[in-house]
């Protein structure tokens, strides 16, 4: 950016209202409401029926989880393409634990699934942090490798719903005050991670690392530790995503989660995370994921041929980064104008 050095020192704090209106989150909420409203007007059942209401709130949970992890990684100026494969391995691992050890405590299985995801993420993180190999390359490699392991391991088998204890399956449909329990759990996770990223040192350090990796090294922020942390978080969340997948679909084969990596990146980008790291909010990402999932939820209901869905997702991603760019340029312009005025 050749323009940066002309930005003036004094920049008035913009008004609170102005900032709220400019925030990505507000735009996304408006779009989600518009989409839901549009769909409900054409098909009232989309919102005003038990099933519709539940699916509207429940379907996005998987994508939200993996998008959160992806966002943490992107904030540190990395990328994780292996989330789909991790999700698959975790889902199958949990399923086979249930089947091989009937009566195994559910929390133990959940813990194992998350742990498996975290370990796979740890492998990514260690490779990226210690060998300073671009994460794009490393996770491209583990995307293949983890998927290959999944196919080799799972092979002809698949998770049968009969393997799963009834209590676990009921997680998928359980509702509390009309809201799916899954969404409540995911919302709590979003709040926790969001709070962590904005209000704890490690969270801010992750932003700092992505914002200026060289400075982070010089500063002694512990960039390796932070990189590993981000990948472990991403892996663990993908693992959790696998468990939620299992709860909702009660099935799964070696192809589960194929292509999720791009959706996760898309959700993060649409949610306002800059692909070059350092900025973006967890709330934005959660809303971005909710929005994307709602689109794929709503399009069949609207009767849009499923074949065109992918192009809409593409337009949204390009539109989102385009929007970011326009906002950025106007901000710089405004700052520049103010600078000459004073």
């Amino acid at each position: 950016m050749s323009v940066t050095h002309t930005v003036p020192v004094s920049q008035r704090r913009s008004s609170l209202l102005g900032r709220i209106l400019r925030a990505r989150e507000v735009g996304l909420i408006v779009m989600i409401f518009a989409l839901v409203a549009l769909t409900s007007v054409t098909q009232p059942g989309f919102l005003f029926s038990d099933g519709g209401w539940r699916e509207l709130l429940r379907q996005p949970t998987i994508l939200i989880l993996i998008a959160l992890g992806e966002a943490i990684v992107i904030i540190t100026r990395n990328i994780d393409l292996s989330v789909g494969s991790i999700l698959c391995l975790s889902a199958y691992a949990a399923g086979s634990l249930f089947s091989n050890f009937p009566g195994i405590p559910i929390p133990l299985v959940i813990l194992s699934g998350i742990l498996l995801g975290a370990v796979l993420g740890l492998v990514n993180g260690l490779l990226v942090a210690f060998l300073r190999v671009p994460s794009l390359v490393i996770t491209l490699g583990t995307l293949y490798t983890y998927r290959g392991i999944a196919i080799l391991w799972i092979g002809p088998h698949f998770i049968r719903s009969s393997w799963l204890p009834d209590e676990y399956r009921s997680f998928g449909t359980l509702q509390f005050l009309g809201i799916p329990v899954l969404l409540i759990v995911v919302a709590i996770i979003v709040l926790l991670i969001g709070w962590f990223m904005t209000s704890r040192r490690v969270g801010r350090d992750l932003y700092a690392l992505g914002s200026n990796p060289e400075a982070a090294t010089l500063f002694g922020l512990g960039e390796r530790r932070l990189t590993v942390t981000a990948f472990v978080a991403s892996g663990a969340l993908a693992g959790l995503g696998g468990l939620v997948y299992l709860a909702i679909f009660a099935t799964g084969d070696a192809q589960v989660g194929t292509g999720y990596e791009l959706q996760a990146v898309a959700a993060a980008v649409v949610g306002g995370v800059a692909i070059v790291g350092g900025s973006g909010t967890i709330w934005g990402v959660a809303l971005g994921a909710f929005f994307l999932a709602t689109i794929s939820n709503a399009l069949p209901v609207l009767g849009v041929p499923s074949l065109w869905q992918q192009s809409i997702v593409g337009v949204l991603i390009v539109g989102a980064i385009l929007l970011d760019r326009i906002v950025f340029i106007t901000r710089i312009r405004r700052a520049k104008r103010k600078g000459t005025a004073t």
Partner: protein, 370 residues
């Protein structure tokens, strides 16, 4: 006259100039110890291994099918290599194959003559490449994000355009010609000629033209490139258009090779292309790499696939081996880099101080009146 008389006399310059070494290392080291050589060596070792231990490997048919199967990747990786050398990336190439396949198929289906339909598809590919390029250069968006978006977009358009129909029935003389050996009994198919011609074109463009110097310069430092008169954005734009053109031409080829235009043609090719390029020693950070290396990377993966398939290994294992090879190659580079970085950080600190004793030549260092 002008700048020619700057500083010391010409005689002194001549003798000083003669003292510079051309290279830090002898020829054999520069030739042998580079990634391209490593990959070529790996291919040769692998082929020897396969010939001796894998039955049926030593047949012309092996090479014929190996090239046929990898031809789309080998073609597409050429322009993408240049894009990666500038520090950008194009992940949409697989979707452009599908897009061009759809346009080609629909045009053909609508009665457009085959060559014209191919032309329309290639032009269409050039246009979507231009879209990528404009978003990256004119608007200034990061290429990774742009091409992840257009990856979905172009695929969506392809699948949406064709719907459930698969357009088949391309003239069999054309489709058979494409897969046929160059001449009877030759271990290479027709498409080899196309690959070689396009590869030589891109190799010359990258390594032997001022444009190619510009490509490297952009990857090394785009600011320096701009200050040196490289038209940075124009170069990047041209590369994205070239990538679209080659990917769509590949789409036409692929459609004819399998006599089938469907929206999912070329699904996932982008990752195979990037894998081959990275394996071939092209730096994902930009600035380093060669066409030869990238091609060799593609050939190594093709050879590995063929060997494993002939040995009766399923694609699950092949997938693991591909991923592991990729990780392994960067891990080795990473470990070596880790070690050399430790040396370098020391070396760079002291470079300035020590070169006084080491540098050749060492003419009078500071003007002095004494």
């Amino acid at each position: 006259m002008r700048a020619d008389t700057v500083t010391i006399t010409t005689n002194a310059v001549g003798s000083a100039a003669a003292q510079y070494r051309r290279h830090s290392h002898p020829l054999w080291r520069r030739m042998l110890l580079r990634t391209e050589t490593a990959i070529v060596l790996a291919i040769i070792l692998l082929i020897i291994f396969a010939i001796t231990t894998v039955p049926y490997f030593a047949q012309p048919y092996t090479y014929l099918t190996m090239i046929l199967n990898s031809a789309p990747i080998l073609l597409m990786l050429l322009p993408v290599t240049l894009i990666i050398i500038t520090g950008d990336i194009d992940l949409s190439v697989g979707s452009v194959v599908g897009f061009s396949s759809a346009i080609f198929g629909l045009s053909f289906h609508a009665g457009v003559p085959l060559p014209l339909a191919a032309g329309v598809a290639v032009v269409g590919g050039g246009l979507v490449g231009l879209l990528n390029g404009v978003l990256v250069t004119v608007v200034g968006l990061p290429s990774l994000a742009v091409t992840i978006g257009t990856l979905a977009l172009f695929r969506g358009i392809a699948v949406g355009l064709l719907g459930t129909t698969a357009i088949t029935g391309f003239p069999s003389e054309v489709t058979q010609f494409i897969g046929a050996p160059l001449f009877v009994g030759a271990p290479v198919p027709m498409v080899t000629v196309a690959i070689i011609v396009v590869a030589i074109g891109f190799a010359v463009l990258l390594h032997l033209t001022p444009f190619g110097r510009g490509v490297f310069a952009i990857g090394l430092s785009s600011e320096t490139a701009a200050f040196s008169g490289v038209r940075v954005n124009r170069t990047r734009l041209i590369l994205f258009v070239l990538s679209g053109l080659v990917a769509s031409a590949t789409g036409v080829y692929y459609t004819l090779q399998y006599s089938n235009a469907i929206g999912t043609n070329g699904l996932g090719f982008e990752l195979q292309v990037v894998t081959a390029i990275v394996l071939g020693g092209v730096s994902i950070w930009g600035g380093r790499g060669s066409i030869l290396g990238a091609l060799a990377g593609g050939v190594l993966i093709a050879t590995l696939n063929k060997t494993l398939q002939l040995a009766g290994i399923g694609s699950d294992t092949i997938s693991i081996v591909t991923g592991a090879t990729l990780i392994f190659s960067v891990v080795v580079a990473g470990i070596a880099g880790f070690i050399s970085r430790r040396r370098r950080s020391k070396a760079s600190v002291i470079a300035a101080g020590v070169e006084k004793h080491r540098a050749i030549p060492n003419p009078k260092s500071v003007p002095s009146n004494h």
